[in-house]
Symmetry: C2
Subunit: 197 residues, 2 copies
């Protein structure tokens, strides 16, 4: 598991064995069972997560209904908003599958950044990359119809459609589960026709 993390880090900076050992000594690797709650609505937390294996999701409960807004899978990281703004969380973070995650907090980061400035450089670069990626995702969401969003998801993250229940995908796509069900039959119908012709 550790190697997954170091392989990922190696894309940005190179670490000596000593540096790796220091990271390991921070005891950041943790396993969670499917359904485990990492952050509960109304609570505060200073923990950030990085997915080595598995899948976690963020959701809000609005008028008694779960609204899923994000999924994080292998090699994706998440810092809940409450870590930075100190407010109570409006959303819940939980594991969709059994997962292996790294867990860290600002104190640990400060310690590492002080010891290895290149680690802060990596985090800056990573953060900027993710920001750009998310901006593109947001753009695509805005300019697309629900059907286009579904087709786009099918292309870009086909695994999610397998790993995650449809009613969670629906709010992730900004629509209701019933609409997603309808939309899918429509898409399948169209494909039939285009294959025939």
């Amino acid at each position: 598991m550790k190697n997954l993390l170091f392989e990922f880090i190696s894309k940005y900076i190179s670490l000596t064995e000593d540096e790796k050992q220091i990271l390991i000594n921070l005891d950041i690797f943790h396993s969670f069972k499917k359904g485990a709650v990492l952050l509960e609505e109304g609570q505060k937390s200073n923990k950030g997560y990085f997915v080595l294996k598995g899948c976690i999701r963020s959701y809000y409960v609005i008028d008694g209904e779960e609204k899923t807004t994000a999924f994080y899978t292998e090699m994706e990281g998440l810092t809940p908003s409450c870590v930075l703004n100190g407010k109570c969380s409006k959303n819940t973070i939980s594991c969709v599958e059994d997962s292996i995650l790294t867990v860290s907090d600002p104190n640990m980061e400060a310690e590492i950044f002080q010891k290895f400035p290149k680690f802060e450089t990596m985090c800056r670069v990573l953060s900027e990359e993710i920001l750009v990626k998310q901006q593109l995702d947001f753009d695509a969401f805005k300019v697309s119809s629900p059907e286009q969003r579904y087709l786009n998801l099918l292309e870009k993250r086909p695994d999610l459609i397998q790993r995650v229940p449809q009613y969670q995908l629906a709010s992730f796509l900004g629509i209701k589960p019933q609409s997603l069900s309808r939309l899918r039959t429509r898409v399948i119908e169209k494909n039939k026709n285009s294959v025939l012709s």
Copy 2:
């Protein structure tokens, strides 16, 4: 104008006069006329922008129609995706108003980061803050109806509704100009009733 920038920076780090002078010497302050294009679709660029005064927007041209996805106003910054991924830009960045911006590129950043590591810390923190803020915006967008999005914009960025043509706001809200027009009359109608009762 310079003071606006230094005031902003002072929220994150403190700069000596020498450090400020070095920043000024980089010649990052530039004025642009309304309509000026900062980045054109299909082009590459390594320039990032920070708005000191004015307003710039990002838009895509899809099937001959402009789809506005973002506005940046005072004290907001933008790094186009092509700066990081090196690909041709899919969107256009242009000035909605006469604007005063800082313009920078990765080389300039590298130079500053090397001279003042605290500057890189600021950029990391800023980037993480913006990332969290954008995630919250994206979440709110997903769980809201167009009408709720409009009301939310009215509350959070009322200036935009004054500064920007309605058809640009529409795609920013993920709908067509026609729908926004109808939606507004609906909202006004509701307000009438609630004022009467």
